[in-house]
Subunit: 320 residues, 2 copies
């Protein structure tokens, strides 16, 4: 069976029908949402690359997916988001408190899914998991901090998305590499591949928030604009445009009198004038090339590494 | 140096001045709040009872205190509480989102504080920690569920406070026992001691919410009443009183037109009429006796176990 289906089937058979129902039913709902399961798939792909057994790695792989979904529950409370992947969020379907507490339980559950790894790998696995998880929190904090700052540099932005998005994908790959028995060097190169592809992934997410199709994107277009998020498009536009345009954008973002739809349309219009689709695609391409360079260093044949190239290509044209 | 001071000094020297500041400063504030450090003290007391080295156990002991404070951050968001231990809560001093995200980071940090335990104990320690943490979430969920139910039985109440409060104290004791090298049987008896004393502790907390001194209690009197919490006092009063009084209480709790202070005074008045201070103290005594019975089974001398008797006695007359 291919990895994707294996992961899909694995999640379908997890039973969350425990008591208290109001704690576990939201977890079930969150995990049955039909996301792409990118993260556990990456764990298994990496494990397989180094000769690991997929069945023995599925629980730690699932831990990464559970962790990822935990972050979504809490992010949706913090961002006050009612729709995710085209469905009501937990906070919308239940309430904020449910999203907070069920999220907490998911984070702990994720750790429980690491308990069965071989004893000689437990410390490395738990360390990697906690380090990654904490970095994701740090990324989320920077993202929030940046909403209140107008002077965020592109370097700060890249560091923020490295933490918020890329380290988790890279962490999944490294987890699989550790479980599969990779050398430290190969594990690090695969991690670096994950960082670069994760940054490209987030750039695409920023792009799709403005230029995506609401149906396939699963979220409302322009959400980042309404939240005042410092996205790649905004930072690069502010960098590129003149002083008067900078003021226009700044005032527009702060303006609460203007309707959301109008604000979104006006800002996207400025982005387009500033050629942001091209600028953003060039940046994605840059990180795609970096990812391929890291992948090339890994001591495996091109054929063995082909699934990672395919994954990277898919990511450039798809969304989770 | 005695354990309490050792713990106190340990927490004073932890440096939380990392970036992003908005993530770590609230953690620093939460952990410098001057709580009684009951939980890490219990870990070290238990470790010492079985011959463990205190310095080698301080980090996992600290993990329990960090975990406990994580729950407070999120509880205060969920309960909309602005004051804790006589100071503004994180959600009041910063905001809800800060309390959520810094809380998440604390939970992960707690796991990181377990990383240095001896390799042959890591799995047992991580398992105990996750099991305990998840049970605390389950207890919190039951507590929330019970607010919407009028038919909560005293048995359901005891199970709820076992999960919400007692398992963490018991988990601290078991953690120390594991680290100190106790037999499974001794570790279990110490755990059972912790469950009984934890239940007595929560009964006292319910009692103090109505009959405590606001200054030493650190929270506003009557908070449980305003939240509609199903406390020992409420459940036992509803059990004891007649049908018409039951209706009076039920309507009073739901009444949003009446001022909070009046509601609190009226409800406490009914509790007093129903002899709740005595009923509550008898229940505490019952669990104190159970705790002593479990302690007696542990294969150590009375002198060695004396600190646990003293701890239990203190707990009956003190608060965290």
């Amino acid at each position: 069976m291919d990895i994707k289906n294996y992961v899909k089937n694995y999640f379908e058979q997890i039973d969350w029908s425990q008591e208290p129902k109001n704690l576990y039913a939201p977890i079930d709902y969150a995990l049955q949402s039909g996301g792409k399961r990118i993260r556990p798939t990456l764990v298994l792909m990496a494990a397989q690359l180094f000769g690991g057994d997929i069945e023995q790695c599925i629980k730690p792989a699932a831990a990464m997916e559970i962790f990822h979904n935990f972050t979504l529950l809490h992010d949706d409370v913090m961002d006050n988001a009612d729709v995710r992947r085209g469905r009501p969020t937990i906070k919308a379907k239940w309430d904020d408190n449910t999203a907070i507490l069920s999220g907490d339980a998911m984070l702990i559950k994720a750790y429980q899914y690491l308990e069965d790894v071989p004893a000689d790998k437990l410390l490395a696995v738990v360390k990697l998991f906690s380090k990654t998880a904490l970095e994701v929190c740090e990324g989320q904090q920077y993202d929030t901090d940046f909403e209140k700052r107008e002077d965020v540099t592109i370097e700060e932005y890249y560091e923020m998305i490295r933490l918020k998005t890329a380290v988790l994908l890279a962490g999944c790959l490294k987890l699989g590499a550790i479980l599969g028995g990779a050398s430290e060097e190969d594990a690090q190169n695969l991690y670096d591949f994950g960082i670069a592809i994760g940054i490209a992934f987030q750039l695409r997410d920023d792009y799709l928030d403005c230029y995506g199709d609401e149906k396939t994107f699963g979220k409302k277009i322009g959400g980042d604009i309404l939240c005042g998020k410092r996205t790649f498009l905004l930072i690069q536009t502010l960098k590129k445009c003149g002083v008067s345009q900078r003021q226009t954008i700044s005032q527009l973002l702060k303006n609460t009198a203007i309707a959301g739809e109008e604000k979104i349309a006006t800002i996207i219009d400025i982005y387009t004038q500033m050629d942001m689709p091209t600028v953003c695609n060039e940046a994605m391409e840059e990180y795609y090339v970096k990812a391929m360079a890291s992948l090339a260093k890994i001591n495996k044949t091109d054929e063995e590494k082909a699934p990672f190239v395919e994954f990277a290509k898919n990511l450039m044209g798809r969304i989770d």
